[in-house]
Amino acid sequence: MADTRRPLSPHLQVYRWQVQMVSSIVHRVTGVVLAFGTLLVLWGLLELAGGQRSFDQFKVCVGSPAGLLLLFGWSWALFYHLCNGIRHLIQDTGAGYEIPQFVRSSWLSVIGSVVLTVIVWAYVLMTGGVA
């Protein structure tokens, strides 16, 4: 590779933080997180296929404080990537590129993901917690 010490595109620290860039960065980060989170789904399916004992062990692991924290993070990452993914699909049609619209839809993704996460975990708590 050629000399890479030439100035590259502006780095994060020279930008004033704004919601549009946060929504974009977080989309990528949650995407990577979810790629690993999918292993959680795989783990559950494998243990369920493995029989009663392995599934019960899986439930204990997932129901532990660390497991719950993992699940909570996974659920928010999923809902954020879902909301912002739908936003990007809409933008793929060419809609929503006016700056005020772009800012508003960024906030919608962030707020929507928090609302969905709260709804799901409120449901979990109301039905008596996990397992």
Binding site: T38, L42, L45, L46, L48, A49, L82, G128, V130
Partner: protein, 129 residues
């Protein structure tokens, strides 16, 4: 086609562009994304319904035909979408060529393995083996 277009008509017809891969990656990422909007939402509802289920109930529910089919679709779409996304991240941030190639191949292998393991697990549950 404009008069001052320098692209050869054959080049245009092939539709592969300067990167030689066309819109295949972009398009597949969108298709799997649309699938995952539906399947992901359904999966969350399925899991919430099984919150307090014992092994027998969970096993029976997951193994029912529609649930098993949708779960297999979910697992395949999720690993496919994940592989496409991780590919872009690796291409963007890994600037040493051999590391980049290594990671790209590794991600593809792991994604295929993960999808196959998930499919086999659902089939075992659905078929009771």
């Amino acid at each position: 086609m404009s008069a001052n277009d320098l692209q050869h008509p054959l080049k245009r017809a092939r539709g592969l562009g300067s990167a030689q891969s066309g819109v295949g990656h972009w398009w597949t990422q969108r298709i799997t994304a649309v699938a995952l909007v539906v399947l992901g939402s359904w999966f969350v509802i399925l899991v919430l319904g099984l919150l307090h289920a014992d092994y027998a109930t969970a096993h029976y529910t997951v193994g029912r035909p529609w649930n098993a089919v949708l779960l297999i679709a979910f697992v395949v779409a999720a690993f496919w979408h994940a592989a496409l996304g991780l590919q872009v991240v690796i291409e963007d941030y890994v600037h040493t060529r051999w590391r980049e190639i290594f990671l790209l191949v590794l991600v593809k292998f792991l994604a295929v393995l993960g999808a196959l393991m998930g499919v086999l697990a659902v089939l075992r549950i659905a078929l009771g083996v």
